[in-house]
Amino acid sequence: EPEVTQTPSHQVTQMGQEVILRCVPISNHLYFYWYRQILGQKVEFLVSFYNNEISEKSEIFDDQFSVERPDGSNFTLKIRSTKLEDSAMYFCASETEYSFAKAFFGQGTRLTVV
């Protein structure tokens, strides 16, 4: 079965530093998402992306966050100035169409801010 690939699997960063989390969605998919899961908590929606622009975002996705699809294959999440509370598992997902398709999730990147 096709896979969504995320790199790195684990990233440790100093508070205030910028981080970029990378995702390679499945090649024919059109909709892309970032979710996060703070340890022991729910999986929370951050942002959805379609046709090279953000289609929906949550309150969590403030000015410190941005997403890009720079080369038509990678999908990145950038956090400009990390805070301790950004420590979480970040999941990328993609799907062919929303409403009726299943979404494929990557294995996640565990971000630890120290």
């Binding site: 909709y31 998402y33 979710y35 729910k42 999986v43 929370e44 929606f45 959805s48 379609y50 289609s55 929906e56 949550s58 598992m89 999941f91 997902a93 929303y98 409403s99 009726f100 398709a101 299943k102 979404a103 494929f104 999730f105 990557g106 294995q107 996640g108 565990r110």
Partner: protein, 111 residues
């Protein structure tokens, strides 16, 4: 909150027994998906059920959906130790393209 709630929060059964997990949600949906997450790992898609479907099967998994009660259940038959994981339901609303995850059920299957 628009997010779903699963119950029970934790379930412990013997290998070979059936496990049933429930999910309730609050708003109209297009579909509902169940995912499994092994400890500290990614989300693995198990099954998708559309709002006009009432029941779906996939191997040892059976999912039901009752849109009038805004609830779904996931049944795992003849459980195995390898089924030990957290199980989440995720609802796709009729508006917007995000989906909302429930709180999860932690399943432990004792060999």
């Amino acid at each position: 909150s628009q997010q779903g709630e699963e119950d029970p929060q934790a379930l412990s059964i013997q290998e070979g027994e059936n496990a049933t997990m429930n999910c309730s949600y609050k708003t109209s949906i297009n579909n509902l998906q169940w995912y499994r997450q092994n400890s500290g790992r990614g989300l693995v898609h198990l099954i998708l059920i559309r709002s006009n479907e009432r029941e779906k099967h996939s191997g040892r998994l059976r999912v039901t959906l009752d849109t009038s009660k805004k609830s779904s259940s996931l049944l795992i038959t003849a459980s195995r130790a390898a089924d030990t994981a957290s199980y989440f339901c995720a609802t796709r609303q009729t508006r917007g393209n995000q989906f909302y995850f429930g709180t999860g059920t932690s399943l432990t299957v004792i060999p």
